[in-house]
């Protein structure tokens, strides 16, 4: 065998080992986090401030994106409509697209950028400036001071923002569809209810919650394992966002396969 032959086994082996190491360290972090849950007096107030910061701060961008997404869905629905489809179907289509897919996924992707990047950068900076080490030398747990509040804030706020995105998308879709089709309010609400199952709302929130787990845990993990100065912080921040987005898309597919029949 000549030296120019590319042997795939070596990089593949390295990849698998690397992945296993990540999974191992991630499990340790999650175990730390679960242990940190017992220190309620420490994480509760921190989680409240964090929730306020990431939750309220994200409302404008969520309103903007969900508003446009709903409107564009409505306009495209109008474009695809042909004469013999009853108008109320537009209501079903818009509501279901927003609640099942656009609301949770767009919220997830945007918050991967907003919350995930923020967590990874904050924790990464704390790591490289030895603030996390300092916390440890003071006999305090980085998990209950830093990770638990961030993860819990995300787990509450991301599903909540998903609900806000759904409502916004539906309203803007409702308004926009009337610009392209002669759909009355009665048609729209009739159509919305016609296909609607209460499970759709749960499904949307379940998605939001799963994405929240992805975003918060991934970004805290990347932040915590930051190495080497400003460049390291940059690397873990982009790493956190990219990994969260990929996981969101994979989960999106997986959940659709598992839960929608």
């Amino acid at each position: 065998m000549t030296a120019t032959t590319f042997d795939l086994r070596r990089p593949a082996g390295r990849f698998v080992l690397g992945a296993l190491a990540h999974i191992g360290r991630l499990s340790l972090l999650v175990a730390e986090m679960i242990r940190g849950l017992s220190e309620v007096r420490i994480w509760f107030p921190l989680a409240m401030t964090e929730a306020w910061k990431v939750g309220v701060g994200s409302i404008p961008i969520i309103l903007l994106v969900a508003g446009f997404a709903g409107a564009v869905t409505a306009l495209q629905t109008g474009y695809q409509f042909s004469g013999n489809i009853p108008y109320y179907v537009a209501g079903s289509l818009i509501v279901e697209s927003v609640v099942l897919e656009l609301g949770p996924v767009l919220t997830g992707l945007i918050l991967a950028g907003r919350i995930g990047a923020r967590y990874a950068a904050e924790l990464g900076t704390m790591r490289v400036t030895e603030q996390i080490d300092a916390l440890e030398t003071l006999g305090r747990s980085p998990a209950s001071h830093l990770i638990v509040p961030r993860v819990l804030a995300g787990l509450v706020m991301i599903p909540a923002l998903t609900v806000i995105a759904n409502v916004t998308g539906i309203i803007s879709g409702w308004v926009a569809v009337q610009a392209v089709l002669p759909v009355t309010d009665y048609d729209f609400t009739y159509g919305a209810r016609f296909f609607w199952r209460p499970f759709d709302a749960y499904y949307s929130v379940i998605k939001g919650f799963s994405f929240a787990v992805c975003i918060t845990v991934t970004s805290c993990y990347f932040g915590f394992s930051t190495e080497q100065g400003a460049e390291g912080v940059g690397k873990s921040t982009t790493g956190a966002v990219v990994a969260s987005c990929v996981m969101i898309l994979l989960l999106d597919t997986l959940l659709a396969k598992l839960l929608l029949h």
Binding site: M126, Q131, D133, A134, E136, L138, G139, R140, S141
Partner: protein, 250 residues
Amino acid sequence: MIEIHGVKKRFGQQVVLDGVDFVVQDGETVALLGPSGTGKSVLLKHIVGLIRQDSGVVKVDGKEVARLKREELRALRSTIGYVFQNGALFDSMTVFENIRLGITDEAKYRDMEYCRERVAKCIALVNLAPETADKYPAQLSGGMRKRVGISRAIAGSPKYLLYDEPTSGLDPVNSDIIDDLVKSLATELGVTSIMVTHDVRGAFRVADRLALLTSGRIVQQGTPKEFMASTVPEVREFLERDFGNITFAA
């Protein structure tokens, strides 16, 4: 007592500590000297269990740091004050909150009145103005940050204090204040301290003993007198670089 026996540590291919033996008795103040990048900070971090040795033993109070259980390590750490080289202040918190976190006793930490008193006292000890308490680390100069780091480390009245270059980057007046503080904490409260430093003059003023770390080993340790009289080439080189031509009556 802090005991370090045969400690070796490498990062990848780079051997940083290559069999360090180093003992600090209770109540002693030892200055740890050495050129940049020889592993002084790495050695200090072994004592609080932030870094784990590849081989050898690190004991504090007779307990092997690397073998302690989570809660035991936590308890041990609350008896050790660690001054980080670059301060490592929590930048999302005010100076007051930073120093308050140094109060490791949970009951005292919850007692706001005690905290206010204690923080004010620690701020005064490092010669900072009382109004510094309300500032954020980003609003302070490097030297001020360093002193806040020292305040935080002493706030919990630790039994051990590990200072990582506490006076580097400080002006001479504040360097002397810190040196005196190190000295008085040791003599008045019986704190056992290790002070990593580049400042040979300060080390001679403060320390009961000195130790020189080069190439991963302690090449010389002893009282200031013994140190001055040393014939070990690394020691001579280190001293001459700092004292120049000045000769001391050893």
